[in-house]
Amino acid sequence: MNTLLLNSINFQRLSYLSIISHSLLIFTMSVPATAVTPPLADDLDIVIPTIRNLDFLEQWRPFFQPYHLIIVQDGDPTKTIRVPDGFDYELYNRNDINRILGPRSSCISFKDSACRCFGFLVSKKKYIFTIDDDCFVAKDPLGQEINALAQHIHNLLTPATPYFFNTLYDPFREGADFVRGYPFSLREGVTTAISHGLWLNIPDYDAPTQLVKPLERNSRYVDAVLTIPKGTLFPMCGMNLGFHRELIGPAMYFGLMGDGQPIGRYDDMWAGWCAKVICDHLGLGVKTGLPYIWHSKASNPFVNLKKEYKGIYWQEEIIPFFQSVVLPKDCTTPQKCYVELSKLVKEKLGPVDPYFVKLAGEMVTWIDAWNELNPSADVAPVKKTDAVAPKKK
């Protein structure tokens, strides 16, 4: 047979395999129209921080009810937060957090949604989806209700492509693919560690922007998911977020915010910068885009400004810091990466403000807590104490 043709067929076979394998992945991972066993029902926890109520869950019921919820109750622990009937959940208030973590509870923020990361700590599942209690079900341009959780699961279960930009966005979505010129050796992609969703209606603007544009609403539905390239930082919003807890959970510490702290509304940002640097180092992917949720509550911009204002200055130092972080090769786990990062934070950002020295310390506390509550398989399991006594239905 003609050598060129044979070579082209061999090459075709190689690309055929990669194309078929990722087509199969899409086919098996797409969520069916009629109810079947929900994907990852036993492998995913939904973490919700709340200080008010959980009424919003009613609207999400068709999508969330098959899953286990972890409610982190912020603020006054004597208040009772009612969980709508029919949900399987654990609920932790501040007393529970203090009891379970003991002195290590210092790392969990109080009076700030940053406390949600306590839910990540105590979860035993492989994946986490976290959502705010003022986020509702959005509709797509055809008027269909969007199952945000299913989209996050699809994002997490399909590869990311951080090493080369695909101009048609996520090539693993149905109806899309890698474009001409995309190297074949990069088409398998990497495991997706984070799925960052977006918001219709009230956009996630900072206080100055909210003050200047109080009436602006996000009405543009951008039908895309894309991988954020390696080496590029982004502002991660915790309102509508999914992640692979085993691969990146230790990096999803939401910092010291709220009561007694000089800063607020930078919890998710901090986690996002740390997590992205670590994902880049470990060869994991971060996706952003779909799904959209409907964000209903515009927080008070004057209150926000007070919380954010130090962050606005500090971020000018923080960003160059993260852009220049190089983690040593022997940091092969997210915990090791995170501890190393905490040292760099203390050294490089400590001079900016003593807050960062404190934060660096709590980053280590967080990892200690993580390791205690999540012992690795090759270590004798820590005896479960009475610490874990969640309030169940």
Binding site: L5, N7, S8, F11, Q12, S15, Y16, I19, I20, Y163, F164, F165, N166, T167, L168, G175, A176, D177, F178, V179, R180, G181, Y182, P183, F184, S185, L186, L198, P203, D204, Y205, D206, T209, K213, E216, R217, N218, R220, V222, D223, I228, P229, G231, T232, L233, F234, P235, M236, C237, R265, Y266, D268, M269, G272, T288, E308, I312, Q315, E316, I319
Partner: protein
């Protein structure tokens, strides 16, 4: 979208003609193109080009090319690379270039997508390569920078290149399209975004626009496949050009945007035939991409011309031994810069 104002005199529309009868193509684009000056560069294999009345158009033939660049350099501008001659002789600030097998796309209301307005809007608003904005281009109406975006980075950098997309026949390579012959792109993604710093991307020449004053010297014809053909599946010239221009933009702190506008790309050619004939191109990318991803230019390269010359030297040195086509590409890049400078000096 609130479009930036478009000055007719600042735009050239450059078309490389692969077919002699451009009547239907030009009629389809008339509502959008008729305001502007057009440059049509005829592929040498095409007989005389037919263009309908009512356009301000200049057609360049092979003999025109030879007159400007000399007969020994004319081969730089054959096939898909013929359009680069249009870039060379243009004196406008902005160039918009599309393939001659594209029609205007339609919005969901049935209006034609005015690619000129959208491309110019992309080019006239800053790009934001240093930090990713999760709400995409913050300069579009109804969008802005999100919480957590550093304020010092909010003025952005000038956008030098705007890469559009395609509905219907997407710009896939031959293996992909051959394996999914019925796959058509029906998804209109209503966004444009800046391709981040140091992130490489495959530029498709099917639908692009650029600021000639900023990056003209880097929009160059260089990588010519041995069996380059008359369909996009059989070329890589634009992908190579895109890697060069992105490197230059990253170095000179200019931006590249990708996303809207869309064109409607019509059926042409056969993916399987192209796959049988030419697959060399996809293999070359395996060497080219790692090269560009690790390439760092020196501080002394301060203009696009300097950057191109430095890249060409690096290509020759580091890729030359891999494949002869890279040596030719490097030489073509150097020739192009010489021509660019020569033609510019004639203007003054």
């Amino acid at each position: 979208m609130s479009p930036a104002s478009v000055n007719d005199n600042e735009v050239d529309i450059v078309i490389g003609a692969f077919r002699s009868d451009l009547t239907s193509f030009m009629e389809e684009w008339r509502p959008i193109f008729s305001r502007f000056h057009l440059i049509v560069v005829k592929d040498p294999d095409v007989k005389e080009v037919k263009i309908p009345e009512g356009f301000d158009v200049r057609v360049y033939t092979e003999s025109d090319i030879v007159k400007v660049v000399g007969s020994s350099k004319a081969s730089l501008f054959s096939g898909y690379s013929s359009r680069y001659f249009g870039y060379l002789v243009s004196n406008k600030k902005y160039i918009i270039s599309i393939d001659d097998d594209c029609s205007p796309a339609k919005t969901k209301d049935g209006d034609l997508v005015d690619i000129v307005a959208y491309h110019l809007n992309n080019l006239k608003t800053p790009a934001t390569p240093f930090f990713f904005n999760t709400l995409y281009d913050p300069y579009q109406k109804g969008s802005d920078f999100v919480r957590g975006y550093p304020f010092s980075l909010r003025s952005g950098v000038p956008c030098a290149l705007s890469c559009g997309l395609w509905l219907n026949l997407a710009d896939y390579d031959a293996p992909t399209q051959a394996l999914k012959p019925d796959m058509r792109n029906t998804r209109y993604v209503d966004a444009v975004l800046t391709v981040p710093l140091k992130s490489m991307m495959p530029m498709s020449g099917v639908n692009i626009a650029f600021d000639r004053e900023l990056v003209g010297p880097a929009m160059l014809p260089a990588l010519k496949l041995v069996k380059e053909g008359k369909v996009r599946w059989e070329t890589m010239e634009d992908v190579w050009c895109g890697l060069v221009v992105k490197t230059v933009c990253d170095h000179l702190k200019l931006g590249v945007k990708s996303g809207i506008p869309y064109v409607w790309r019509n059926e042409k050619g056969s993916a399987i035939d192209s796959l049988k004939k030419e697959w060399e191109g996809v293999k070359l990318m395996e060497d080219a991409v790692p090269f560009f991803e690790t390439l760092r230019l020196s501080r002394s390269s301060v203009t696009a011309e300097d950057c191109v010359v430095e890249i060409a030297a690096a290509v020759k040195e580091r890729l030359g031994s891999t494949h002869a086509v890279f040596v030719s590409a490097a030489e073509a890049m150097v020739e192009w810069v010489k021509l660019w400078k020569a033609v510019r000096s004639l203007d003054h």
